[in-house]
Symmetry: C2
Subunit: 163 residues, 2 copies
DNA sequence: TATTGTTATACTCTATAACTATA
DNA sequence: TATAGTTATAGAGTATAACAATA
């Protein structure tokens, strides 16, 4: 179909011809670079609400699961309990969540979002959806589904294999 | 319709019905979780060669681009120059690369891999490919292409937008 | 004056051991 | 003895300012 000799239309990416075809051949490398680039933008969006990725995820999970315990939350978010504590401390100090003792188990706390927490979560979530639309709009429906499916397969390949 | 007596319930890990459909609705969250899970396995693979992700990428790039300068390399890998210095220090101390003065510009160093560097790179790269095959085998050709295309679109959406 | 490589530093994210108070 | 939450800490990864040598 294409003549092999007649395509000088190389992407004039950077100054000297530095090739990274070896690294580009690794999906893991592309995944890292894509996520890093995405994260820069996402962090800027969340910064408007004084949130970072883990506090945002934490708030969303508490709103969706009122009464959740810290250990359940840490497990669901795949973060360590000690790291969650400081996140919850900050969210509680900002009066976005409450920690209530569980009557049936006085070791545990039931996590709930305050009214302010619900409102901030709603606004931040919509902003994140707008951020996502920036690149999702460039993907076809088939591509989105393939991406979603592929990400889930990658995740389960390694997560369920007993880390 | 099973008798409730026989089975001691499911695994304790999925104990109460905690939903994360809100977060799962965000591609960025799935991307992060997938990459994190993949990274755990990848780091274990690289650890056999006493390499981390950045040193591995660095070595691959130097092997593919002999004579590369540090600033070019940092740019290609999207890492900061100061952080690259310590990576190169370690690779040089292990005698995997050399730093030679550029005659035409005595400020710069030309980076080259030693024989040992080439050999380690070759072995590590093959091990990483085997790691990749673990999840790529579960993806159809269409899924791989969609994943690759989608990752590139995500990357260019944010990388070219002037970070 | 600008650029290359460098040093020092700081901030985020993540991981682990060990403690307390309950169960 | 085991579990929920906590404290303290250490290790990576990443980001910026400022410097010396060179262009």
């Amino acid at each position: 179909m294409k003549p092999a000799t007649a395509l000088p239309a190389q992407k004039k990416t950077r100054a000297n011809d530095i090739s990274d075809s070896q690294l580009r051949g690794l999906f893991g490398y592309n995944l890292k670079r894509s996520f890093s680039a995405l994260q820069v933008d996402l962090l800027r969006v969340l910064d408007r609400f004084d949130l970072r990725m883990v506090p945002f995820s934490t708030l969303v999970m508490i709103v969706e699961n009122p009464g959740l315990r810290q250990s359940q939350l840490a497990d669901a978010l795949a973060i360590e309990r000690p790291n969650l504590v400081v996140v919850l401390d900050t969210l509680e100090r900002r009066e976005l969540i409450t920690r209530d003792r569980v009557p049936t188990d006085r070791r545990a706390y039931a996590l709930r979002a305050t009214l302010a927490g619900h409102q901030l979560c709603e606004k931040a979530y919509r902003a994140v959806q707008a951020h996502e639309a920036r690149y999702l709009n460039r993907l076809s429906t088939a591509e989105r589904e393939a991406l979603s499916s592929a990400l889930n397969k990658i995740r389960t390949t390694f997560e369920e294999a007993g880390e």
